[in-house]
Symmetry: D2
Subunit: 354 residues, 4 copies
């Protein structure tokens, strides 16, 4: 299996299955002499972890990260940062019912076909549990890029949409409600909707908006590793993501060039920002903003029909403790991946100075 | 500058500026003993090249690809395929007016800030001319993956939308009109709109839909190099792209899990395909389909105000021969990038057989 | 810090410092459905571990490897294999005397200068302890390449040389003596020499010869990743290595082409094998053989003079438990690295089949 | 075919066969705003090219490099530098006699077995002609690292050895004789020997010594990409190389630690330099020196027996214009590869500053 590494210089490689002994990772390239705030890292972990509110899964996972290398007397040494998160609360028994059958819109079937073997305890490698490792590394990336501000928030749940541009929102309110939507009224609506959906044993999709501020000019490596291309890949690599757009996005299609072009002010900033902070794949110093679409979670607590390994129809029912809507817990993951992308470009950018 | 390579094993590295002596590339990893159809490669080049119809730029570029290595007596040898396309029709004079000023929503400003130097003749490295190299490599990828079908077409221009799912379209009609929309009536509307916009010296955005058929099960390398993540990056790396979605995409957000889940038939195919042919980052054998949003081209043939290197306001006007709408010519580029993505995953997949 | 990864597809990334909490690694690309013999892996670890005989360091390290992922019901799953080895016997106190001074011919000085910070407890990241991770991964590579035979043995200690070509030796005797030299008489001489040197608190260099048998034709990726180039890099990356030669090596320089060329037999094998099993960077099916030169260990149990951080002269004396000669314990490391090189080429070779 | 790229950031990818239309490469990562001395680059090419003296091959190849991108108004722009060297003097007819047979100790046989197809005109991809591309890139690396001094010279031809340490030589004499040995008396002996060998239609091996001076402290990326490991790989990737050693090398094996350790002076330099300028894989500011062993060229102008594709014995005789001894022309290649290695480490080193 290739594809376990993200980044070129600020580089994260992860391992681990949802119900194995541990998950973990190696973060390479973090410059030495960075004073790590371990508490802040754990805080990010806590934003992602299950059980934090009534509208997310009630699984209990401590998600305690343990650093094994690369940190000495509180500072990074420049050597690879190895870390593990032991899986303390695996209830593998919850998964016996899916051992021989394939859950619809899960990865069970394709893993079996691709690898000829599958760790059927939960999602195995395909579980979103793996994203805990990304949050660890992303939290370090945020500390490395301490001048930048990474904000993500929920802007849509099902058909409930936050109809305000991010500039009109008070982003400091994001963490004040379990949905992580910075507009309290909309957040309440979203929360009610998620509760309702959960009662039905059903799930619902959502959108997360990301905003990155104080970005220096010059990050991004065209032609293939354009800032927004790498950012898009980062987001699309998160479980359940179906779409990515930045700046004017899909709406920009309807505009004419004369409306869409961002006119310069004399200081090099632009009067509008349809570009979303990126020109030709390189940051231009304006805010980077983007939307990430998440599908409804595939695990339902309802009876359903599916097939087993022999192709025969089986009746089953989702068990276990699952999220009715993934976006509230995915907010820190979006921020983490954004931070990893920019940290990598920051390091690459250092190599071109004369 | 990093970021000039796409792919891990089926790997393209490109070089070249729009107004330099030549552009070109090196394609590594193409298996040996593949009989190359050079005419088919040139045909793909011709689909992308300027001047092919009244609604695209009237620049004349022969875009003749010349293979320098890796092919012997018509077959690939397994060694890297080096190729060049000489720039025969550079009118660098067209660009003197932008030597010291920054065109809005172009990469001029960020290249200058990032590199401290800029080849101001056209877009230089940031020009979409570079995509000609991708079409060469993509055409070879298509021949390598001769069982798969790569179809892309224009599904939106400005606000004119093709309101049919791809299954109801006759995709063989795509090449019968200059817009490359497989629905003749919508195509005519789109063409008229582009002509109108061009008359105003303005430009307009569009959407390309891609469909990949006959995909084997098992392509894609989670967790970071999920099939759709790599496909999204591929698309977002194309000039002017602002968004990517696959399967149910942004619309899927509004659905409940019970609606969105794709139930299995006994043969492992699914009754619906909201997943878009990808589960957990791995192809499941169903059609892969996706949308790519393109912004309106930034170069207008209208007077506009911008700033020069000193930050002073200058009045200028787009000159040269530019596309009023980029999507018709971008169709073969979308197909090429999709083919490169899948060829790479096909090679990676070969490494896991026991 | 870059450079923690070895291999392109069969890929090992390691982390860890000698006196941190743990060392470990992630092995990617091992094909699924390989039945792992965990005992055989631990056996390789035991060959490398300290304290196994009177002529190696008397440090006690259990070197128990713990697999955290990628293995399910005894078989590889195709997902990354994460593993850790906890550092149970760190006597960091042993190193207080070097906290502020630089040991001659160690990496202390350059780490401080490069990173501006140093984990001074032992070698930190530069310690040969890291090679334990290589042995884990190499042991898996051996099982993956179960048809090939990897043999390494000590062929020189100081000036005592094993003056026989490997074909005249019984390589099964290698493990019958603590020196790991397959010729009992020479082994006894070497052992006596090492004991003598140790008594003086001094150390001595050595040579390990590697032999790989049953290699399939076609492994190696010219032009830069030639089999012997990658093998050479692998060996030179082992601590204390100063030289590498394969086939006729440095002696071949004195030969004429008419003597050195390996004439073909009708079955494609060659009558002689000065080439060392590699032609143009690709295996030709003959035995691969090579020599690896190790310098004398830098840590002496003698008084010596060196400088501290301020450049001032300090008198000190090596403490702790160190190897008087590194080659006996390095034999399994040489085999492990050779196995990693060939496993990677085996996977790469799978990608060129038509 | 993988393996066509050298370097991580200062990165060269090459293409081309000896008798194809052209060879060439793409050099990525060279920082912008470097004023390129094109004449100096061509000079390096001329040092490598055939026909420059009586003791090298009399083939005539202009070896004129043509830059296609990445350079604007004489300066690098930061974009990839594409270049080609057209093959003007291919006498493919010279090779008809080997179309169906395998030359001993050449790559003919393994290429056929590995790829199932072979460009039999000369060595094809396995020809040393490819190294011309390395010299182009290496010449740019030298200009990028203008403070460092890269010197290589011939220190052995057959059994004729230059018995002086490099410190006692006047390296400015290297280019004053066709052998490229800085000691005129030894050079004359070597030249006579090569002439003699050539008369017999035979060939002879040799050793090149490389010396790199003014190296900053801190280059190299342990644990796998140690400076000397990458340097060793670079050298071993050059055609005909059989061995590499640095610092004390294979001779160091015989020394005791107390003799071999390099004691520090108060300024951090060392009194001796058995380490060869590298500690723990990182440069320590002392001179880096190393030896590279080249086997005798395999192409003889003598009758010989070999096998054809069917395994049947054929009588043949080397034709064409070949080198009787490869080391004089390989001197600039050794320097080029060394420069590429250090340029890459210089860029990597920039990424760790806090």
């Amino acid at each position: 299996m290739a594809g376990n590494t993200f980044g070129t210089l600020f580089k994260l490689t992860t391992f681990g299955e949802s119900h194995g002994e541990a998950i973990g990772g190696i973060l390479e390239g973090c410059p030495p002499n960075l004073q790590l705030n371990l508490e802040a890292i754990q805080q990010e972990m806590d934003r992602r972890k299950p059980g934090q509110s009534a509208i997310v899964t009630q699984r209990k996972e401590a998600d305690q990260v343990r650093f094994l290398s690369g940190v000495f007397e509180g500072k990074t040494t420049g050597t690879p940062i190895g870390f593990v998160i032991f899986n303390s609360n695996q209830k593998s028994g919850d998964y016996d019912h899916i051992k021989d059958s394939y859950r619809p819109s899960h990865a069970d079937y394709v893993y079996d076909k691709k690898y000829g073997i599958r760790d059927y305890r939960g999602g195995g490698r395909s579980s979103a549990r793996e994203t805990a490792c990304r949050v660890v590394a992303g939290a370090i990336a945020k500390q490395f890029l301490s001048n930048l501000k990474f904000n993500a928030f929920v802007s849509q749940v099902g058909s409930i949409t936050l109809n305000k541009p991010y500039q009109e929102l008070d982003l400091s309110l994001t963490e004040t409600n379990p949905v992580r939507c910075p507009d309290p009224a909309t957040a309440a609506e979203m929360e009610a909707h998620i509760r309702e959906v959960r009662k039905e044993g059903d799930t619902i999709g959502g959108v997360i908006t990301g905003v990155i501020q104080n970005v220096p000019i010059g990050l991004g490596e065209p032609v293939f590793d354009k800032l927004h291309a790498q950012l898009g890949k980062a987001m699309l690599s998160i479980n359940a993501v179906k779409g990515f757009e930045y700046g004017s996005g899909f709406d920009g299609v309807r505009m004419k060039g004369s409306e869409h072009n961002d006119a310069y002010k004399s200081d090099g900033t632009t009067k509008t920002n349809f570009s979303g902070g990126v020109q030709g794949g390189i940051s231009n110093g304006m805010d980077i903003y983007f939307n990430v679409a998440f599908k409804p979670v595939a695990t339902l607590i309802q009876p359903y029909e599916t097939i087993d390994k022999k192709g025969e129809t089986v009746q089953t029912k989702g068990k276990g403790r699952h999220d009715p809507c993934v976006v509230p817990r995915a907010v820190p993951i979006v921020e983490a991946m954004a931070a990893l992308v920019l940290a990598d470009f920051e390091l690459l950018n250092r190599t071109i100075k004369s």
